[in-house]
């Protein structure tokens, strides 16, 4: 046989094998956002397009539960079972931890080469960067967020109009609004004291007294806790309970029950996050509703959304990056806003859903003044549970505001010193 023929034959075999390998490529993708949420709907659509663009790839999607990833995230990422791309919680305790454990692929190159830098500015990357200790803010880019979230006050427009009240622009005005409702015999604020909204109200109040240094130190675990903002927040909440603005029994109820008080028209105000938008959008039919930011000089509770991360063990990282590009594209950013989600980079002019339009606008308002204070439980792993416990104690009056602040400080300082 002539050498050239042999070479061609070998070449053909190699090519065929390569093609065959590309043929049976699979793409495993996981997320845990609820299927009915704005993210869930948008991502499902985007995945369909990805499938259509790559007919030779077997796309396997698994709807995960947050509980599973929270409990065994590191274990999964450290094994063969890791998917090619997945949604992961942002923050030191979650994404930071697995990044520092070497379980994720850095995305710095992709950021510039795939044009993501045109869509997400550096400010949107604060929670994508983690250093070798797993602390956010600096270091490589380990994940990309395609949506935002924040805490605001949902309010019943009809009830406000009936009572002749305007949207408050300061904390004093907010208190006055509460007092007005109370005078009519309505408990104004729905609160899930045994759940997340408790600590979010606390943080929203605390952040009104926070400056850049405080936020930077707090989230970065840079110094022992300065309790002044939390003390103020605690005193305010206790005050609210004493004046009857919040139900004393609220410590036993979870967020869904608190949300129910709002959606059923019993409570005019509910301070919680944008993850409620999907539910409110579909459930509230009887009254007009809207959102206003808890009045604050700069900082609000909020952040960029959960991250898309690519495990080191990913077998198809290129397709994973393509997925992220797809979600960041104008088409899907607009799609997300139209589904009621908070898009980071949607052009408001193209958004048709008023809820999504408003949400994107509010988020932009916060982001433009760099007012994303993030979430209060982030600095310390396990702080989420500590906050839930302590806020419950505060609301039940088993802890005074001073004791509350002290106990928070103890837990925080312990972690800060032992990094």
């Amino acid at each position: 046989m002539k050498l050239s023929t042999l070479a061609m034959a070998i070449g053909a075999v190699v090519l065929a094998t390569g093609l065959a390998q590309a043929q049976d490529k699979t793409f495993n993708i996981w997320w845990f956002e609820d299927a009915a949420s704005a993210q869930g709907v948008t991502w499902t659509k985007a995945l369909e397009e990805l499938k259509a663009n790559h007919p030779d790839v077997t796309v396997n999607f698994e709807q995960k539960t947050f509980a599973q990833l929270q409990a065994s995230g590191s274990m999964i990422l450290n094994s063969d079972q890791a998917p090619d791309v997945l949604e992961y919680n942002k923050g030191n305790a979650t994404a930071g931890l697995v990044a520092s454990q070497g379980l994720l692929t850095p995305l710095d190159d992709a950021y510039t080469s795939l044009g993501w830098d045109k869509i997400l500015d550096e400010g949107s990357l604060t929670l994508s960067r983690y250093d070798e200790l797993g602390v956010y803010g600096s270091g490589s880019i380990w994940g990309i967020s395609t949506y935002g979230e924040y805490v605001s006050a949902f309010y019943n427009i009809d009830m406000f109009e009936e009572a002749g009240l305007a949207v408050p622009t300061s904390l004093d005005e907010l208190t006055a609004v509460f007092e007005a409702f109370k005078a009519q015999g309505i408990t104004p604020l729905a609160l899930g004291g045994a759940d997340t909204s408790g600590q979010h109200v606390l943080a929203s109040l605390a952040y009104t007294k926070a400056d850049d240094t405080w936020i930077s130190n707090y989230q970065g675990l840079k110094a022992p806790l300065d309790t002044a903002p939390y003390l103020f927040a605690a005193q305010t909440m206790v005050d609210w309970v004493a004046k009857g603005y919040v139900d004393k029994d609220a410590t036993g109820i979870k967020d869904p029950d608190a949300a129910l008080q709002f959606t059923s028209g019993k409570a005019p105000v509910y301070i919680s996050g944008t993850w409620n938008l999907g539910n409110f959008n579909s459930t509230i039919k009887d009254f007009k509703w809207g959102q206003f930011l808890v009045p604050t000089p700069k900082y609000s509770v909020g952040s960029t959304g959960n991250l898309w991360v690519i495990p080191t063990a990913s077998k198809n990282p290129e397709l994973a990056k393509e997925w992220i590009s797809l979600l960041l594209s104008p088409k899907y950013q607009t799609e997300q806003a139209n589904n009621g989600g908070v898009s980071i980079a949607a052009d408001p002019a193209t958004v048709t859903n008023p809820v999504g339009q408003n949400a994107a606008a509010v988020f932009k308002e916060i982001a433009d003044k760099q007012g994303l204070g993030f979430y209060p439980d982030w600095p310390v792993p396990g702080f989420y549970d500590v906050l839930i416990q302590k806020v419950a104690g505060l609301l039940q009056a088993t802890l005074t505001p001073e004791q509350f602040a002290d106990e928070l400080k103890q837990a925080y300082d312990d972690a800060q010193a032992n990094q």
Binding site: Q70, A71, S72, S74, M75, N78, A93, L97, V98, Q101, G102, L103, G193, A194, D247, K248, D249, T251, G252, I253, K254, D257, P381, G382, D385, I388, Q389, K390, A392, G393, Q396, T398, L399
Partner: protein, 302 residues
């Protein structure tokens, strides 16, 4: 014909073969991991990468950990709701159902009650958590009933109030545990010779006396097994707290198992969690040994 009353030692050795599968399984699944856990308790580790040896540091931390000591004290309280109360109620109910109800209303009625009372054991704990969360919530049925009968002042925020959370969780635990004790005791009652009861009856013994002098002593093997197993379960109780209160409010219902779960999976301080688990296991073993000694003594007395 001479019957061999003792087994020759050669034959006895073949019995050891029967222990082989169980032994292999036990070593692999229980012994080795326990030893690994013991080793981990002397390290600082995040679950990924290499553990770092730190000597007794974790144990020193334990001594000054308020959460840890709190959880230990709560365990003692849970012994009441997981062992003492269910065993007592189980005994009385078993006697009642087996003797009285079976006599007056027949086998079916007795079986029906037993099946119904056992149902809580079947329910997945996550489901029980949701359902009881509804019942015990401030707007739940317990408070509704209290208000309806005029005892509205007693209505509480059962799971959200640090004073009442532990009793509330205990109630749920009793609800779950009664069935187990009941079923075991009723099965045990079936092997007691009815002639004994007839004799006592003829001597003029009432229901309570029969219970005390015949039922309880003869049911001793079942009672010991149930008390020991529920005691061990009480010491490592986890699921009801995980589902109902997550250790709160403000650590009011924290137990060692929840604390270890918290440090194993949430804070990922695996070495520290391992040390708590070691202490917990040693205490459980200690208690079990004391109990078994007691049981042997009682058996020896007869």
């Amino acid at each position: 014909m001479a019957t061999p009353s003792t087994v020759s030692t050669e034959d006895k050795r073949s019995f050891y073969l029967f222990l082989l599968p169980g032994a292999i399984g036990f070593i692999a699944i229980v012994l080795v991991p326990q030893l690994a856990n013991f080793g981990l308790s002397f390290t600082a580790w995040k679950g990924v990468g290499t553990p770092r040896f730190v000597g007794l540091q974790n144990y020193e931390r334990l001594l000054s950990d308020g959460q840890f000591w709190g959880s230990m004290s709560h365990t003692l309280l849970f012994v009441i709701s997981m062992t003492i109360i269910p065993v007592l109620i189980g005994l009385v109910l078993a006697a009642l159902l087996f003797d009285y109800i079976r006599a007056e209303f027949g086998e079916t009625a007795s079986s029906l009650f037993r099946a119904a009372l056992y149902l809580p054991q079947i329910l997945p704990i996550t489901a029980a958590g949701v359902l009881w969360g509804w019942i015990l919530s401030p707007t739940g049925v317990v408070n509704i009933v209290l208000r309806a009968i005029g005892l509205g002042d007693l209505a509480q925020n059962w799971l959200g109030d640090a004073t009442y959370a532990l009793p509330a969780v205990s109630l749920v635990i009793v609800w779950i545990q009664i069935g187990y004790c009941l079923v075991v005791f009723m099965a045990g009652l079936s092997r007691i010779d009815p002639a004994l009861y007839e004799a006592a009856e003829l001597d003029g013994a009432g229901w309570w006396q029969r219970l005390r002098t015949i039922t309880i002593p003869l049911l001793a093997p079942e009672i010991f097994v149930v008390v020991l197993t529920t005691l061990i379960a009480a010491l490592k109780v986890f699921a009801p707290i995980f589902v109902l209160t997550a250790g709160g409010p403000d650590n009011a219902t924290l137990v060692p198992s929840y604390l270890t779960y918290y440090h194993f999976f949430t804070t990922q301080r695996v070495g520290y969690a391992a040390s708590i688990a070691v202490v917990q296991t040693i205490l459980t073993i200690g208690l079990a040994i004391i109990f078994l000694r007691f049981q042997a003594q009682q058996a020896g007395k007869e």
